[in-house]
């Protein structure tokens, strides 16, 4: 793991256009028990998340539920404090920001949550929700209202929707309103936590297209957190696969769909239904139980469910293998090759 960090750091120093650098991020949630509420154990939500996001790029973080991808997003949004590891934003350590720098950071980094309805204040008009954020960050004044209308139009809503309460909007409209709120302060980096999970399939495509066109126009950088591989394929440039809180494979999205190296990634990809009933592609179904988050990973996180498991997998953490310049895997299989 240490090797990875140094390698990444060098890469950044060579002048790559890296916006966000995440190094060995870890989050353990304490489990409190007993009369005195002492820590009796941990939920090991994230063990090691390490990746870079380049400017104006979309990085997808994929994995099954409980793989820690949302927790990574929350740490990036400074809503959870990492147990270990570091986040660098424009080469600044996010953990060490002063309170005025934190305001600077919160303006540039926006998060769009999975459930747009729950993330809007139910007693505030969309108008007030959006304008409040602009006022706090002193962006878009003095004609806040005009800018709000402009934003609404940009995300495919109209002025009329400004005068609605969240419960008066449909799911897709809410997601667009949340997006307008995120965009109103001119952010650089947007964390999208399952942005389409709560939407109908037809609306999903519209929202994804909107995200794409906004990125083209304003050069936003996205971190897309999702379990939906179709979405990943459609929108992301790079993909990081996580399992039990550890990143196992990192690759350009196109390459990942062509030649996934990690057995977990392969299983994940083959679980996507193919719209062809007589297709010959062999499905790799995972055996074994879904992982228990209160148990700490000792060696390879995937060892107990991997179809190609070898003795070494249960003994040592697999090292990072470079498949090529931009494709890394953590698996003993690739080491042997």
């Amino acid at each position: 793991m240490g090797a990875v960090s140094t390698m990444r750091a060098e890469k950044t120093e060579t002048g790559d256009d890296v916006l966000v650098r995440v190094e060995g991020l870890r989050k353990w949630f304490p489990i409190l028990g007993g009369v005195f509420q002492r820590t009796v154990g941990y939920i090991y939500a994230v063990e090691d998340a390490t990746f870079n996001i380049k400017n104006a790029e979309t990085l997808a973080l994929v994995g099954e539920s409980g793989s820690g991808k949302t927790t990574v997003g929350l740490m990036l949004a400074k809503l959870e404090h990492p147990t270990a590891g570091k986040i660098f934003y424009r080469n600044r350590d996010v953990g060490k920001l002063s309170s005025s720098e934190t305001r600077w950071y919160r303006k540039r980094v926006q998060m769009v949550f999975q459930d747009p309805y729950a993330s809007l204040n139910p007693r505030m008009l969309i108008k007030d929700t959006i304008i409040e954020v602009m006022k706090v960050h002193r962006v878009g004044g003095p004609n806040y209202y005009d800018r709000a209308v402009e934003l609404m139009t940009r995300v495919g809503l109209s002025e009329e929707h400004l005068y609605r309460y969240p419960h008066e909007l449909s799911g897709g409209q809410r997601q667009r309103a949340v997006l307008a709120r995120a965009l109103c302060v001119n952010p650089e980096f947007i964390i999208l936590d399952e942005p389409t999970a709560s939407l109908d399939v037809s609306v999903q495509a519209q929202v994804l297209d909107l995200l794409k066109s906004l990125q083209d126009e304003f050069r936003y950088t996205y971190l897309l957190i999702t379990h939906n591989l179709a979405v990943v394929r459609y929108i992301s440039d790079r993909t990081v696969v996580m399992y039990r809180g550890i990143w196992v494979e990192s690759s350009p999205t196109r390459e990942l769909f062509g030649r996934a190296e990690h057995p977990y990634t392969q299983a994940l990809l083959s679980s996507v239904p193919i719209p062809e009933p007589r297709s010959n592609v062999e499905k790799q179904l995972l055996k074994g139980e879904p992982p228990n988050p209160t148990e700490r990973v000792k060696a390879c996180p995937f060892a107990d469910r991997c179809p190609y498991v070898m003795p070494v997998c249960n003994e040592k953490t697999p090292p990072v293998t470079q498949i090529n310049d931009s494709h890394q895997v953590r698996c003993w299989l690739t080491v042997k090759k």
Partner: protein
């Protein structure tokens, strides 16, 4: 846009008028407020001082609709004048209690940790005393007067609101929109007072409306046992007190002021019930 707001307003009225009990409750409350505000204009404010012993303990008649008390004063007039005292005390007690309780409870829940723990133990201690007894003790220390009666009741009532508010804020605090507000970089006081509070306060408003009746009962209770106003402040509880020795000779002295207290409790409770339905935007449509 304006049309939309007007439609909203119409819907609110519709909700209001479709519930008969709320309408009745509101009518009662409005009647009491009217009495409290204009009582002194309708009835000569000197009535409590007009002793007319020849006409003492007269039963209800066309001359005295509610009869007269042992000093020959007209009960109806005393009741009209008393409305101001009772309403002022109840509303003042509830308003101050809710202000103290809301701020302390909300801040305590939002800050959490040691402060919250210590604060809640303090509230627990307050709750351990029987309310009326505690109010009596405070009033004995402060001295007998209508204002001290109010202070004593506030000392007892605020803790309930603080606890209710704390629970509300704790529940709201965990919701996603609060996290979203934090991630948007809104300052803490803004999140607490502009986002959490408006979502948390409605149960308090409902309970406050109902409590106005309850406070009125407590205030009347305290002044019934003699811990309140002077005989020249015709607060309803003290009128009931005044009638107690004559219960079998002139029951009307107790009956009418008592009825007024009862009706007030009922009215505020009905309104509180209706408010709950009208105020919640999620129950609408």
């Amino acid at each position: 846009m304006r049309e939309l707001r007007i439609r909203e307003l119409k819907y609110t009225f519709h909700l209001f008028f479709s519930n008969k009990l709320v309408v009745i409750g509101t009518a009662i409350v409005l009647f009491y407020i009217f009495l409290a505000v204009f009582g002194r204009l309708i009835v000569d404010a000197g009535e409590p001082y007009k002793l007319d012993l020849k006409n003492a303990l007269k039963p209800p008649s066309f001359e005295h609709f509610f009869g007269t008390d042992d000093l020959g004063r007209d009960i109806l007039r005393l009741i009209v004048l008393g409305a101001g005292y009772d309403m002022a005390v109840s509303i003042f007690v509830v308003a101050v209690s809710i202000a103290i309780g809301t701020v302390l409870g909300a801040v305590s829940a939002y800050l959490g940790g040691k402060f919250d723990e210590a604060f809640m133990r303090l509230v627990d201690i307050l709750f351990a005393f029987p309310g009326l007894l505690f109010a009596m003790a405070i009033q004995m220390i402060l001295g007998k007067s209508l204002f001290n009666l109010a202070i004593a009741l506030i000392a007892v009532w605020w803790a309930g609101y603080a606890r209710l508010m704390r629970g509300q804020v704790l529940a709201e605090k965990g919701k996603l929109y609060v996290r979203a507000a934090k991630s948007l970089g809104l300052p803490g006081y803004r999140i607490l007072f502009r986002h959490i509070l408006p979502n948390a306060i409605y149960p308090l408003l409902v309970s406050a409306t109902m409590d106005i009746g309850g406070v009125m009962l407590s205030a009347a209770g305290l002044s019934f046992i003699g811990l309140g106003p002077t005989p020249f402040e015709p607060e309803w509880g003290s009128l009931v007190n005044r009638g107690a020795p004559f219960l079998f000779v002139a029951p009307w002295i107790m009956f009418f002021p008592g009825l007024m207290i009862l009706l007030a409790s009922l009215g505020f409770n009905l309104v509180g019930d209706g408010l709950r339905d009208i105020l919640d935007p999620r129950l609408r449509r």
